[in-house]
Symmetry: C2
Subunit: 223 residues, 2 copies
DNA sequence: CAGTATGTGATAGTATTACTATTATATTTG
DNA sequence: CAAATATAATAGTAATACTATCACATACTG
């Protein structure tokens, strides 16, 4: 992506934050540094107190932006999925052929994230790593149904739905378009995780193997 | 499963526990009640103090069996995967035809768990729910590489490897047997989760839909 | 220009968690 | 019966995840 994205703001459910972090310098530093810290120390060890120390601010000030670190994770994840969705829509919009369109979509969502400097304070490569390592924790909770009703997962759901629709447009007889779409998204994160920690459980060792694996899987499945 | 399993003990890495919970009555109560509690309140809210109160014992006594609740989760998960592996090996052992064997394996690992009273103190239905909701948290940690080296995930890995081998036996030219095997196991948990909380993201709404989905997916993919 | 609202920082305080340590008591085994 | 072992009870600690209050600086408003 390039300049274009610089003027686009990823629209995130306002209930996720107390105060929009994009609305101030402190807010942006919270986002920027929380990405670095969560990547470095993991979500469990990350605290608002440590973040405050890192950005030369106070714990209590961070609470003015996010109720708790769970909400911050929801924010980061929503941002990431929104960013991916933008790329997906942008890149597939002009493709007429349904199969080609789906292939492009699979490529976008399964590929390894590379440097993108469109958003100065957000490191997309690290954010992708965070999503791989922490995203499941955002919905594997007892509060998932309430939070889902509040709309905290809409962007992710919309992304799955988009892919599901593209699958149906290639083959309207295929019975499991939503399951296949969710398998692609979740499975892609999982394959990237395995690559880093359980390499014997995957055949995806190069950067683009994951894309090849899913392209083949989907093509044959809905043929 | 039936009587047979009653005399089989699921072999779990001894480093996971301080004292084998199968070796005492208190140990068995810890396992039995922790399953009920984690299912009811979720892993985050579950504490050894609450468990102690529930089983009429003391927090400190539970620490004599498990270092912390993370290790207890690893124990429960290992037990579950060991139990599944046993069923898989038992049910597929006598099948000569490679395709039939793989189909049986997929059926075993993707189906919804139903009542099994072989192990009096372990409720397999609830344990399956716990694995669906909490298993990812056991490996999505900063300690995963160390713990993997310690062998805390061997049973799960062996299970993936078994399925991977079966895939190769059906089609030795297929390039992604391990990725496909891990996609089946992880994807199955995910589809069951979606069924309960994000039903618009899956087409698996009946108990056996997940099995049908994966049977079709695998059959077409490696054809 | 005074007054007020807003944003941020500093400090303190609370309940809970995740332990560790010690001691007492009960039970089992040799 | 003595010794070892298992369990229970109590206390204590550092850290976490907040909440509340107050102070201060800046900005904007009538």
């Amino acid at each position: 992506m390039d300049q274009l994205l610089q003027s686009v703001k990823i629209g995130i459910n306002e209930k996720i934050y107390v105060k929009d972090p994009e609305s101030s310098d402190l807010g942006k530093r919270i986002i920027e540094q929380s990405i670095l810290m969560i990547d470095a120390m993991g979500f469990e060890s990350f605290t608002f107190k440590k973040l405050g120390a890192k950005i030369g601010s106070n714990e209590s000030s961070i609470y003015r932006y996010f109720e708790n670190k769970h909400k911050l994770l929801l924010y980061l994840a929503s941002w990431y999925w929104g960013w991916l969705e933008y790329q997906l829509v942008f890149s597939t919009n002009s493709i007429a052929d349904a199969q080609q369109k789906l292939d492009k979509a699979i490529e976008i969502v399964t590929k390894t994230t590379v440097e993108d400097s469109s958003f100065s304070h957000i490191n997309e490569v690290l954010l992708n790593k965070i999503v791989i390592n922490e995203y499941s924790k955002s919905y594997l909770t007892k509060e998932v149904d309430t939070e889902n009703k509040e709309g905290y997962f809409v962007i992710y759901k919309r992304l799955v739905t988009r892919i599901s629709t593209m699958i149906t447009e290639v083959n309207s007889d295929y019975k499991y378009p939503s399951s296949l779409a969710s398998t692609i998204l979740e499975g892609s994160l999982h394959q990237h995780f395995l690559k880093g920690h359980f390499s014997s459980l995957t055949d995806c060792h190069q950067d683009d193997d994951s894309t090849k694996y899913f392209l083949h899987l989907v093509a044959t499945t809905i043929k």
